[in-house]
Symmetry: D2
Subunit: 500 residues, 4 copies
């Protein structure tokens, strides 16, 4: 029976005997660990929203023939991509954190088209296998993670050149029906919260890297996997009594390192094996989807703008012109991100396999703004919040019989505002700009789906300087050899810009 | 017979006996005036592009039943709006200046829906009249201008409160079949190049401003109109011999002041008369279309990026990492503008009249970025260009037998590059960042369709702080009175964000 | 016997029976509390540096006739102010946090000149008392804190208008020889680490606020004082085993709320009482000194730039052009802050009392840049750091026999780099951009010595628009009434700019 | 008899028979050419200000023993450098353009110390010759220009590698008593307005570039020199009737190309000849002085801020909060530039020759901000100005009997403001942001004294990453080999930062 809602999803994670380390110790049951649980709650919300916001967060799949969670849906048209963005913003608004499901969605979609093209070249059976796998995921309504980032060792060497061959995940054993892989994947979002994980290569590969050109699905509780949980700023506040100091007690992101030691994958779950030249296609399509998926951060931005507006109101300065102006600026930046994300989705094109791929230039532009604007929005939120945000006493001081009344007396804002509510909003701003969810709102915005320089490289690849130089020479009346034929020179990005 | 191309358009402007003043004197034939002609050439290009780029720059109109220039087309669906943006970028690429037709297009579209709603309330015949007028324009393939900005006098007073009643255009005489209007419109783009001009109010009006609530069409050569041509930076270079120092000798924008003295409008060309409460609807819908029309500036940006890339190439520094990085930054900013523009078009909705209106928040975000990024793109272009851009001698010095050979010897760039071509590209960069077309690329980007503060006010109106505060309180677990019902609170902008 | 070094300073704090609350409980001995201790270490460094860097961090005082810690020195010439900045940068470099002594230094200096001017008007004995107090501080080598920021209650009401009179510190009892005060001071830097605290009003006062116009010194352990310790991001990491996860285990800042309940001040320690019109002079002179004291943040910036350079080196990307370029940008921003700070000190003038006051405009410019650039420097540091900074496991995982070897294997950087050292540098970057010292480097940079809007108001007051308008009219040949006499119009800021 | 004031200076330029080309023709008398004259007026102001503002703009020289114009003064102490900055700002305020004398001042000062060090090494007589030359300049009160920038040809080749040896100025003939040089210097500020020009190499030279390592003085009217005048945006407005459209009719900058054909220099005017290794010292010291000399732009900034404030006042919006906020931002940016400039001067050190050299890091920081902030100040000025700035008719239209009254009626601002004065201020803003003086305020701010990348290279050289890495490792408790000895590692920049 499929998972029907967030509660059932949480239940489904129990008792899996994952080997998860946190603070140097094995975690008995991650679902019940107070530091881990908020990250599970965030995923649970992706199940519940599919029930509540049917149109946005679910879709009819022509693969399984049923209505499925949109995170498991293969985009069958442009609007499917646009609706992904809408769902991402909505979930950002509801959780104010990373809800950890975009990687899986974007991995399935990029594999869908890539396996199709591998098969076309090599008559391999990957696409059909993948479709079967997706069908199963949709029917069970599983959560899936995508594992791409290898630990990389010495960055100047290719996978097969590394002193230690395990610096990139690779095949260590192989028989007729299966393979075994070893290596590690770093910064893995939501992995412990998933039912399945798809292993993928992290970059362009060369012929000698054949054993590293591997894509396959493994259950999260497969034998040979060790998870080491990452620390986040202020993470242990989730383990303290009370819910006030956490700022956002219910929701958080999750990153862990996955260490794979001789992990088994049967043939029917292998979707690439040795076709090195398709590694870069897969990576590029995945990052193209994923850089636009950072539209989620505009949902977080909405919450942070709301928190700034709320604290301005509590402080009695909501009508100060400079406060209003800062809220407008925050909104302007937030919507600039959103615009590029949905523009990328709207400018999608159909792949050979039949699913839809969003525009690459605009996806990179979207993500590149995400590496800048959330930092400025946070700065402005801290400006509006005032210094109290970082000098307030702990919840225990507020609850104490000794200090509680003193704080109640002295931390009053304008009339009619509860001191506790004022503190709650300030703690939320701290949570998003310095604390636990600053990891997701800021640092992940910087490095997730590729660091800023990765976007600049991709923008450079598509900026079509030859075409633009021709435009300039045309206007400046520069004659060099043959005439400036402008109609011939569009390609790639501008082809899509001017497509009708 | 309709105008079929740019050449015929130019021909159609001859012999109209317009009363145009420039440098204190009447201009005999604007078409032949070297300072004015480049602005006419830019409009001519809008005719030719409709022939060349059929899909982008023309459309089947259900009003006239024929294929029409898109600038005369009423948007019948979302893609019509998106295609407007594509046409705007294309023309920006081809002319590197303001081609002056967006005002008319946006005026017709905003009037289309506004007149429909006036009629619905007052049973007036405006919409039908407008449709007839549009049908005529489409059949003749006329160029139309929209005149909105009044001179305003004392900005703290409303139209009817001004000491001099003519500070806003108003009805001065009226009979059964017609009205007569007086006043002046400032900063009028492309007015002299138009066949018809639509007069519209410039802002929200009050009941006592009835005589100012007037919309009507007048032929450009109507009796009682005086045009005073505006100066642009470096405008007289168009009157010098040669084409080099102008930078962009063929194309420029045009702004003039229109002074109306008892100008006649027959009833069938009146589309609003006294319905003061609809003035703000018209203005808002017009600016909503028009702020997104500034996507045209990304076409200019493409040219300027191309010019910067070309000069870097000529200077032999195209591969310097800081040069490449600046070109990437220019592209990133340029595409950020584009993204918001087309996102606004894609997020359009249908009006009561049946035509389509783009998203207002994203249109304002687009325009607001236009008031910033072209300045930074220009700064980077000047950085790449080098100082020679503003210290080069005149074309006459290059052509002189005395100094020409010296300049040829000493201003050589890298081998194989013609000194003249190097100068041409530098003059183009000067043209776009300091000279004649800097007016269009920079100052008009700042103030056209409303100055930055106007966008901030509009963003403020739609930023839905109450909804966002509720989002923050939901996450921060702030309880105030009834529960935080998030589903109820979306409206306006977020309604469209989450529409499916 | 005076305190001679950091160790003796730490010793001097023991056994004072302060009433300090933290996590709802009384702290037995703050010196030994692991969460508090790093803030004491930072102050101790201010004692040690005076021994090591004699010229910078100490000075001959003409008050006591001995060489004193510069934090207790009254500036007797311009170079004394410049040397304050040098000392601040040095201590920022050594501690990478707020070392908490500038408030006291700036308070003593602003009181020095203000009391002199009060006495001149009212023949009061404040200045002489203050000099005696300073002499004692210098001889004992005490640490002094300045308490200015009241909790303020409803910000639209003045002190005497508040519903609860205690929202601002005020006199509640008075006899011939002393007064008693009640109220609370928020965000108090280094208060628990001080031997004495000077209470000062927080803003311009009106005649009816007489009881609030009070300046006086109290020992930190005076009867009636309660301290409630403020939480900082990641503060409890200081309480965990090990020193790795803290990032900067040795040093931190400190902020607490001071609650005063009928605290006694004898007449000889009162430096203002009721002279309401001097409150604003005191506040303005204090903030003028203090906004320039934020030069300390350039010392923190040096550390963060160093950390970014170190991690780039460890990651093997130190020579990538975009990395180098980001380090240059960070340096440029950091030195821009420094320049404005020392420029303000260099442009000092002598007060009536004989001490020196730095330039106000440039102090505000310095601080205003401090509310912006550290955020951008942090963003760039996070960019260079890479995502591992926020996804690394805990120190316990590195020390664990199970996971330690796995992490050692998989988190190797380039050859020859110790994994632990790589982690240490990443944790330092986390500490300064999200963690404990981000409070000092970012949020305190925003709000300390006044929030951004406070600087803008002060810049506005001194920007001399009338003089500048006259400059413009002179050049533009605008004649209005009498001639544009430029020599007469300089005042205030420009007087100092052009002083010789 | 020395030149005593601006009028005598102008007189001194007459009748020199310079070979100046402009628009392809020889200029008869540059002093009387309306396009050239404003640049001469700007220099004249440097003479008059020395009389009016004695302390700032003149100094007692220990070389000639008399009081001399500060532009001819060798800095004998730190305050001499600070006063240079004050003079530069003052002249910027008075002329709103480039007054063209800083190059000469900075050239003399850098030659002063460099020749001293050449002599010390080679026992050459350069320093003594230079002192004699300076003495003569001071006694006659001459204007001196410095010519550094060669045309450079192929930038990937050194001077001696160029196909055409004249791409860098070099010795072509030599006898016992003199040399003859050939080549060209580009972008020469104020050369035609000078009495003498000093020729200097433009970059680091290698042993094989010996003939290019030449420094010498030549009279402006020397045989063999051709000047080709550079075009500026809107330059011909200076040749139109009236003074209104020019915006700043009285003052402008000047750039020309100097072509040297066998120009004679006698031995006593040669200050370097073949000592290739000193070329880079000279260039570095010159740019160090000169990058800080861009403080002049803050004087232009004052005028532009004043113009923006004036037009806001004329438009009746001076009290709008967003207008005031923009004026504050403009001021903040302007003073940030000023602060770095004077900080660089204040942090000067004495050279071996005895004169003073300002701090290099801070000079580069100053100039680097100059490549950014004037662009933003201009953008904000255009924002405040409104669109009329680029759409206003010409002066002739205002003076015409036909159109004048119409414009007077319709371009009225708020009551009491003359339309002409409103236009004058708008034309001044146009002049400084797009027109003639935008060349000086923007493009020269970008490229003068080195383009942005040149500053970044220089900042990179001095940013002392090794020292900063050590600071970070010290705080992070990173142990690598020997201890982190912080005291040893300061050098260069930080030596000066912490000097006492």
């Amino acid at each position: 029976m499929p998972i029907r809602n967030g509660a059932e999803y949480i239940q489904s994670l129990r008792g899996r005997n994952l080997r998860v380390y946190l603070f140097g110790e094995l975690v008995k049951e991650p679902v019940d660990h107070p530091l881990i649980r908020p990250s599970i709650n965030a995923v649970a919300e992706t199940y519940d929203v599919a029930n509540r916001d049917h149109e946005i967060a679910s879709a009819e799949s022509s693969i399984s023939g049923i209505r499925v969670n949109r995170f498991l849906h293969i985009a069958e048209n442009t609007m499917d991509l646009v609706n992904q963005n809408k769902m991402q913003r909505k979930l950002g608004q509801l959780t104010a954190t990373c809800f950890q499901r975009c990687v899986g969605m974007d991995a399935l979609n990029s594999l869908y088209s890539t396996t199709f093209e591998i098969d076309a070249k090599y008559s391999t059976p990957y696409h059909k296998r993948l479709v079967e796998f997706i069908k199963m995921l949709q029917k069970e309504n599983f959560m899936i993670g995508g594992a791409m980032t290898d630990v990389k060792g010495d960055r100047s060497l290719s996978p097969s050149q590394q002193e230690d061959p395990d610096m990139f995940v690779h095949v260590v054993k192989r028989d007729e029906n299966s393979i075994y892989i070893t290596g590690a994947k770093a910064h893995q979002t939501g992995c412990i919260n998933s039912h399945w994980i798809i292993i993928m290569p992290t970059m362009r590969l060369r012929p000698e890297d054949k054993e590293y050109a591997i894509v396959g699905a493994i259950p999260t509780d497969a034998k040979g996997i060790t998870y080491i949980y990452g620390r986040q700023s202020c993470d242990t506040r989730s383990m303290e009594e009370g819910d006030l100091d956490a700022g956002n007690a219910k929701f958080s992101g999750q990153e862990a390192m996955i260490i794979l030691d001789n992990v088994f994958i049967p043939n029917e779950l292998i979707f690439m094996q040795g076709e090195v030249e398709f590694a870069s296609m897969l990576v590029e399509r995945f990052t193209c989807y994923h850089r636009r998926s950072y539209v989620c951060k505009t949902g977080l931005g909405d919450v942070l703008i709301g928190a700034a507006a709320a604290i301005a109101d509590y402080n009695g300065v909501a009508n100060a012109s400079h406060i209003k102006d800062k809220l407008v600026e925050m909104t302007h930046l937030n919507e600039t991100i959103f615009a590029a994300g949905i523009a990328s989705s709207y400018q999608a094109h159909k792949t050979a396999s039949g699913n839809y791929q969003n525009d690459d230039m605009l996806a990179n532009v979207c993500k590149h703004n995400v590496t800048r604007f959330p930092y400025e929005i946070s700065r402005l939120a801290q400006d509006i919040a005032g210094g109290l945000m970082v000098t307030m006493p702990s919840e225990k001081d507020f609850r104490s019989l000794e200090t509680g009344p003193l704080l109640e007396k002295y931390l009053k804002g304008r009339k009619g505002v509860s001191t506790e509510n004022r503190v709650r909003i300030l703690r939320l701003i701290e949570n998003m700009t310095l604390g636990r969810n600053a990891v997701g709102y800021l640092t992940e915005s910087m490095h997730g789906a590729g660091s800023p320089q990765a976007q600049r490289i991709q923008i450079a690849r598509q900026m079509q300087l030859e075409y633009k130089k021709r435009l300039a020479k045309n206007v400046a009346n520069v004659i060099e050899g043959e005439a400036n034929d402008l109609t011939q020179e569009q390609s790639e990005y501008f082809d899509r810009v001017f497509a009708t």
